[in-house]
Amino acid sequence: MKRKSMEEYFFKILMVVSILIVLGGILSVIFTVVLKGVSALSLSMLIESPHGGYYLGGGGGILNAILGSLYLACGAIILSITLSLPVAMSLHQSTMKSRYVEYIRTSLDIACGIPTIIYGAVVFTIMVFIGARSSLFWGMITVAIFILPIMIRSIDEIMLQTPKKIKIAAFALGSTRTEMLSVVVKQSFPGIVTAILLAFGRGIGDAASILFTAGYSDSLPTSLFEPVATLPLAILFQISSPYPVVQQRAYASGLILLVIVLTASIASRVLSKKFMKYVVK
């Protein structure tokens, strides 16, 4: 009896400690960014592009990077939704032997784990080969490529959660495969929304993949084929500055990025709640 209660106690403590570690990690990131960034945050930072000498402590803002990041992430998301949804659906209802489907899943899992800078380097090599220069377009392509496996696997995994009896119900009424899949998508819709917005978070926050492919520019993004500024790179350039004023602005930029990502994940929560209504448990 005593051993059992000690065991119980031990695991309770272990649980509390791990929760504290995880929560502490997240909170300390948020606190650092807010504490160091909030003083440098100003309206002009949000609505102006950098003036000359901005990176030496001069005036201006990072609207170029905010817009650039939003364009880039949204474009990449649209690109990868159009590819990942059909791929996930065909994985789910494949006529191939299930062994091959498993191979594809495993390769996608490996692709999820490849560091994003490798994707950047690969796309950069292609760009050099065909003589393209860094631009919003190539940045979008790179980000789309590296969030593609993440998105496919999470949508696939969500669709796998669909109870088999729902598929049988659809088939039993005379559905074709495609009609059955649309029921599966309906059932998994809240999860698909979450998957998309999580991928958005990954895409907008990545610096390594777009370092060579999207480039950087101090002017507002106007064309797909011009280099574009992005928040992660704006943070990188500012934090590596020797001037404390500029370093502080890096934290402020981080805060802006954090707010965008948080907004996306809260939106995903709210949206999935909304679509939860008809889901069969």
Partner: protein
């Protein structure tokens, strides 16, 4: 007139089926009469659900399936490669063991079948939904909340919704796989009495391992044991004068 001889709905001839090389059904030969309730009984794992799922080819969803022999529906072999499987499943509806509502509203659940079979007219859809829900006695209970998710209904109501959904596509036959086993006794009774009403217009095949239920429902009984048909015939003689000793033992409850 003997419905078994005149124009059976299903005419199953020497039908064998194996999944993953293991034989599940062996040489099944049986006739399922039209507009009657045929009850398939037998102990768990004897292949009665497999036999049922073969009749609208839901069994196709299993991998490594091999069949031989034939299942004729009004004279046409349903395993013929030319058969339109969606049309077959429209004609032969199925009710599963546990209710399986689609992730939609109550209305859309019933209307779904119409939609996939190309009926878009709103007035027709509306009246079909109402009449089908009426047939299963659900209309009065749900008419005020047709837009509510189907999963908010009670289990018994969900099962009746599934029957209404199957009826909406105007099937000729209904396959019920222990359709009441997940329900409370009152809901189960309700479904049984609805099936007894429906049998005038539909060919019903009902799988169960509950003998008393078989006695209440059956016009004809098929006894399946270890993948083979042991005995089949009209319900009155089947229960009172079983020919095979195994049937006798099963009815008396000495095994199964």
């Amino acid at each position: 007139m003997d419905p078994l001889k005149d124009d059976p709905y299903f005419d199953i001839r020497n039908f064998s089926l194996s999944i993953n090389k293991s034989k599940i059904l062996k040489n099944i030969t049986v006739k399922i009469p039209q507009n009657r309730i045929t009850v398939i009984i037998g102990p768990s794992g004897c292949g009665k659900s497999t036999l049922l799922n073969s009749m609208n080819r839901l069994i196709d969803l299993s991998e490594d399936l091999e069949t031989s022999g034939s299942i004729l529906l009004k004279g046409y072999d349903i395993f013929d490669p030319m058969v339109d499987i969606t049309e077959l499943r429209r004609k032969v509806g199925s009710i599963s063991q546990t209710p399986n509502p689609l992730p939609m509203s109550i209305f859309d659940n019933v209307a779904y079948g119409l939609k996939i079979h190309g009926i878009q007219d709103k007035a027709i859809t509306m009246s079909t939904v109402e009449s089908c829900l009426n047939k299963v006695g659900l209309w009065e209970e749900v008419k005020m909340r047709l837009d509510a998710p189907a999963s908010t209904l009670s289990i018994g109501q969900q099962q009746r919704l599934c029957i209404a959904r199957a009826l909406a596509v105007e099937p000729e036959a209904l396959l019920c796989d222990e359709a009441t086993s997940a329900l409370d006794p009152i809901s189960a009774h309700q479904i049984e009495s609805e099936l007894l009403l429906l049998k005038n217009n539909y060919t019903i095949v009902f799988v169960t391992h509950i003998l008393r239920q078989a006695k209440r429902l059956a016009d004809y009984v098929v006894f399946v044991y270890l993948g083979e048909i042991v005995e089949y015939g009209p319900a009155d003689t089947f229960f009172t004068e079983p020919k095979d000793p195994r049937t006798k033992a099963y009815i008396e409850g000495t095994f199964g």
